[in-house]
Amino acid sequence: MINRLKATRFLVQQLSDEPIIASCGNPKFDLYTAAEKRKANFYMWNSMGMASSIGLGLAMARPDRKVIVLDGDGALLMNLNTLATEASMAPANLVHIVWDNAQYQITGGQPTHTGSKTDIEATARGAGFKQAITVNTLAAFKTALTRALSRPGPWILVAKTDSDTALGRPPKSPVYIKNRFMEALRST
């Protein structure tokens, strides 16, 4: 099992100012805890499932930047059709990371379908992804991420994580989050 906060810390260490879209639920808490001063972080406070769609749109509009999405298994299952659209539009600069702990962690750990039948990597491949990988250890995550950041995608990187919780809480003003993020993107 991978610790999500440790994996998030490793991710931001590999980046300079590439944009990161962090899903509602725990991914945004991890990202803020790992890199609260980082301006190119987009924190979502709702809109479950939309992180990957935002990342796709941004990746298409800014083909010059790697765009990273931090998604969760529950959120992805809510917008599963995103896999077909991402694979079809296929921006090479999109890295879609799915933290998969097989539960709706933020609402009390109720199981999701990835704990029983559903394999996200296989689903992504079926949707048309060529670059898809599942990792179970931090070492394997580091190797896979390094490859995804250096080679053309789009990538789906499914990381099997535990359910530790990060303590940081990002700012709640949506307009502040947006303006700060756009300013960071404009300056690069």
Binding site: S47, S53, L185
Partner: protein, 169 residues
């Protein structure tokens, strides 16, 4: 009937480069008029809600988009509009082809057709209906300008009196 070409030229005039859509027969005519124009970037959506996210991402990256869909699609977008586009202040044009009003043959389109404007009103989204071709330029230009001014989504509804109704028994 020149409305599809007029819509396309007004999108261009307003710097809208991205078209995300779930097609219907009306949207299909606009897509046909846009053809393979390299000015536009087309995204076929599997579900309309994705479009709200994609257009948000494009806007964050500096590109304006429009979401084209049938009225039914608004129902699939409600939470993304309420929790993403509106609070994060993402301006864009929703171009909605109306079903369920004049000349409707399908009872399963009527309820959403009647609810369309109330849903937009409940969300606080400004909306305008184009009934005639001579209204197109003022309404579309104006709606887009207002959306950018207030940094909010806006809806323009294409009435069957503009586009004709789907003739089926």
């Amino acid at each position: 009937m020149d409305w599809p070409r007029k819509i396309v030229s007004l999108l261009k005039a307003n710097d809208i480069r991205s078209i995300s859509f779930v097609p219907d027969s009306v949207i299909g005519q606009i897509l046909k008029a846009a053809g393979n124009d390299p000015y536009f970037h087309f995204t076929t959506l599997a579900r309309e809600e994705e479009g709200v996210g994609i257009i948000t991402g494009e806007y964050l990256g500096g590109r304006y988009g429009t979401l084209m869909m049938q009225g039914a699609g608004l129902g699939n977008c409600v939470n993304a509009l309420a929790s993403l586009a509106i609070p994060y202040q993402i301006p864009f044009l929703m171009l909605i082809s109306q079903r369920g009003e004049l000349g409707e043959f399908n009872p399963c389109h009527v309820v959403m057709g009647k609810a369309l404007r109330s849903i937009l009103d409940s969300l606080g989204i400004q909306h305008y209906t184009i009934n005639r071709e001579d209204e197109l330029e003022a309404v579309l230009n104006g709606a887009i300008k207002t959306a950018y001014t207030v940094e909010q989504p806006v809806a323009v509804i294409l009435s069957v009196t503009l586009v004709g109704w789907k003739d089926e028994k």
